[in-house]
């Protein structure tokens, strides 16, 4: 590749001019940031010019995978990683705009390191923080985290967010647009205050959250919301969402058996511009029975995908589902995870008598039903869809156990509005 060098090797120290060290600082920084961190530090051995170039790198990514070798045991691995990161940060000089940590494969056993690093970062105008830590015990998010005023993107994992003393400490994150918290527990009732103090927050994703307190999320700028985990009290006022994923896990145990306190109906009614809805888990029980049917004024014109956990044998849920479908003329994908708690079946003509608006299922391309048991309610809905969806391409049925042959036959015989509709039985 390097044709120029070979011919001039003889007069190497005379005529050759350094081709890279004269690049502007920003470019050298960019090049170093593209290297794995150990190699970036290794450039200090190149020449005088490069001795301290690595100390002003602005984007740092420490990957646990880079630090071990096959001979190491877990302790060594962890030790090397922590030592390197500590030394690096203590020698580093200059702003750190991005800091990433991925400790998959190592278990950092003390929160002390994280505290220390967070403190250094808070002094360095950090903008993007990704701590993908995989720890034994969750660490408490340190208070210095809240003084990182320039944060725009945050990804934290295996942590505890104690909101009890939030109001005092936090001025909020004025620039924050993405907050992602994973495998974390939320203590206290002030999470809403934190969200409220982030006026530019557009994406909030909470995965594997555990919270027994109130989660009040009020935001007009929020576009993507995902709340997944164990929670009891959820209050959402986010009218401008484009994507709403709420998933409540089912867990037995006193604290969680209690009915969830969630302003379901109000929430659904308010997100009229939503494009994507996912509602899994015991959530429908929070809905008032007639609310949606009577009071849903607007159409969900932009809703194209919906995924629901439904018990079609439950009249309230069945009604809710139909209501949602009727108000979503542009729906393209329906994904239903069916449950059947009680064998209560709606009246025989429930589905036939369902109000068939002109726009019902007009744009539906794909429908998936998982845990299909072949009950009358489920068959009824499927029949309705097949009859009413003119552009349906695929109906995927995943059976729960073995479907009875008669049911299958009936299914395949059903009249289809769309010639291309394909029924796939898994």
């Amino acid at each position: 590749m390097d044709h120029g060098c070979s011919s001039t090797k003889i007069c190497k120290y005379v005529a050759e001019e350094d081709i890279i060290s004269n690049l502007p600082e920003g470019l050298k920084d960019k090049i170093l940031c593209c290297l794995p961190i150990k190699e970036a530090v290794g450039t200090c051995l190149l020449s005088r010019n490069w001795r301290y170039t690595w100390t002003s790198m602005t984007e740092l990514m420490f990957r646990g995978d880079d630090f071990g070798s096959e001979n190491d045991n877990a302790n060594d691995y962890e030790y090397k990683f922590l030592k390197f990161t500590d030394m690096f940060l203590s020698l580093h000089n200059g702003p750190i705009l991005k800091f990433g940590l991925d400790t998959r494969g190592i278990e950092i056993s003390t929160a002390g390191h994280i505290y220390r690093w967070m403190l250094i970062l808070s002094r360095n105008r950090i903008k993007e923080l990704q701590l993908r830590t995989y720890t034994h015990e969750s660490y408490n998010i340190p208070s210095c985290f809240f003084s990182c005023d320039d944060l725009e993107y945050v990804h934290l994992r295996d942590c505890i967010l104690t909101t009890l003393h939030l109001p005092g400490l936090s001025k909020g994150f004025k620039q924050l647009h993405t907050l992602h918290l994973e495998c974390f527990s939320l203590e206290g009732n002030h999470f809403g205050d934190l969200v409220g103090s982030c006026p530019n927050l557009e994406k909030l994703t909470l995965y594997w959250l555990i919270s027994s307190g109130n989660i009040n999320i009020h935001s007009t700028k929020l576009k993507i919301l995902s709340v997944h985990g164990l929670f009891n009290h959820l209050n959402l006022h986010t009218p401008n969402l484009t994507s709403a994923h709420i998933k409540r896990k089912r867990v037995t145990g006193d604290a969680w058996e209690a009915k969830c306190n969630f302003n379901f109906s109000q929430f659904i009614a308010s997100i009229s511009d939503v494009e994507n809805i996912l509602l899994h888990g015991p959530l429908f029980e929070c809905a008032e029975h007639d609310f949606l049917i009577l009071k849903l004024p607007k159409l969900f014109n932009r809703l194209t995908e919906i995924s629901l956990d439904l018990d079609l044998g439950n009249l309230k849920e069945a009604n809710l589902a139909v209501c949602l479908f009727q108000h979503a003329p542009n729906l393209q994908l329906i994904n239903l995870r069916l449950t059947s708690k009680k064998p209560m079946v709606p009246t025989a003509h429930f589905w036939e008598s369902a109000d068939r608006h002109v726009c019902l299922f007009q744009n539906l391309h794909v429908v998936c039903m998982i845990n299909f048991t072949g009950s009358r309610a489920e068959l009824g809905l499927l029949k309705l869809i097949l009859e009413e969806a003119p552009v349906l391409r695929k109906a995927e049925i995943e059976g729960y156990g073995n479907l009875r042959k008669d049911d299958l036959k009936n299914l395949l015989k059903m009249r289809r509005a769309s010639k291309d509709a394909e029924i796939v039985i898994l």
């Binding site: 960019k30 090049i31 390197f84």
Partner: protein, 328 residues
């Protein structure tokens, strides 16, 4: 340009051209839509109205030489066509950066001065890929970097966070040499009090410089059993009182911890290097090679250091992190 591209862009007769002038004076004309892909040129056209004729050509920044300019224009010409798939673009990019390294550096510099961010990202990544995985000698070779670090600078224990076994060994040898010279100094020096004070400050200095552990990588692979013992309070004995077979240990390991310990840190203890540890995990062939290098280096040290002892009187501490003893 291919037929399909021509059909997408306006017919030749209707195209407007922009005039660009390089720092060396050469002027060239380019189709307007191609030039506009460059933010800096775009700004010049819109704000200052330059570029419409040969006399009012847009003056390009100094870092853009004609060769880089033609490459940049090729890049712009390809990417400004909207109909291309991501796959096509990626494939073009990959081929685009397969050029001579020197040209690649010039191209990066030129793209940066024209603020063409996608191209800057592409070329920087390509340069990083060239650097990745190579030894310092190879990298110096490719980029014509001068090999101007002194041996000591290369071996600064402070910088040894890459855990290179070669550096580890040389560090140890260095430390050993330092220790020997210290002892020789002590024999010469009459005033014992002053001696002790100097010793302490030397140790403190080394400790401060080495942070909380000097060659951090050096210990990790070594004695795994030692890692488990994490006690902080140990205050190992001083350099000159150590028994002879722990000589390498001296300067790095046996320093009082108090001056260099930071409050929050849950530190791992400093364990002195031991002779037995020299064979940690290095295979025989490499061991031989390292032995030879070490011998060679030792010879060099022996010839150079006696001179240094005389010359080093005035040198400031900061300039010689390892040779701290010279500051007397």
């Amino acid at each position: 340009m291919s037929e399909s591209e021509l059909s997408v862009i306006k017919p030749e007769a209707l195209k407007t051209y922009i005039w660009l002038q390089c720092f060396d004076g050469s002027i060239q004309q380019v189709e307007e839509e191609v030039a506009m892909f460059c933010p800096m040129i775009c700004r010049e056209i819109v704000k200052n109205g330059t570029g419409s004729s040969k006399n009012h050509a847009i003056a390009l920044p100094e870092r853009v030489n004609p060769a880089s300019l033609s490459l940049i224009l090729d890049y712009c010409r390809f990417h400004q066509v909207p109909g291309r798939s991501n796959k096509e673009r990626k494939s073009f990019d990959e081929k685009f950066v397969r050029i001579d390294t020197e040209k690649l550096c010039e191209l990066t510099s030129a793209a940066d001065s024209l603020q063409l961010k996608p191209l800057v990202d592409l070329t920087s990544r390509a340069l990083a890929r060239i650097i990745e995985g190579k030894t310092p000698e190879e990298i110096r070779d490719i980029f014509h970097l001068p090999d101007d670090l002194t041996e000591e600078e290369k071996l600064e224990p402070l910088k040894n966070i890459n855990d290179d076994p070669r550096i580890r060994l040389l560090n140890r040898l260095y430390a050993k040499k330092r220790k020997e010279l210290q002892e020789r100094q002590k024999l010469k020096d009459i005033q014992v009090q002053q001696e002790q004070k100097d010793e302490r400050s030397l140790d403190e200095l080394l400790c401060f410089i080495n942070g909380d552990g000097g060659s951090g990588g050096g210990k990790a692979g070594k004695s795994k059993k030692k890692n488990k013992r994490r006690k902080d309070a140990k205050n190992p004995p001083k350099a000159d009182t150590e028994p002879v077979n722990k000589e390498e240990a001296a300067c790095v390991g046996n320093i009082p911890r108090a001056p260099c310990q930071s409050s929050d840190v849950q530190d791992d203890n400093e364990y002195p290097f031991e002779d037995g540890d020299l064979d940690d995990g290095l295979d025989p062939a490499m061991q031989e090679e390292l032995d030879r290098e070490v011998e060679d280096f030792a010879r060099r040290l022996n010839s150079v250091w006696p001179e240094r002892m005389h010359l080093g009187q005035e040198r400031r501490i900061e300039s010689q992190l390892i040779g701290g003893f010279n500051h007397r």
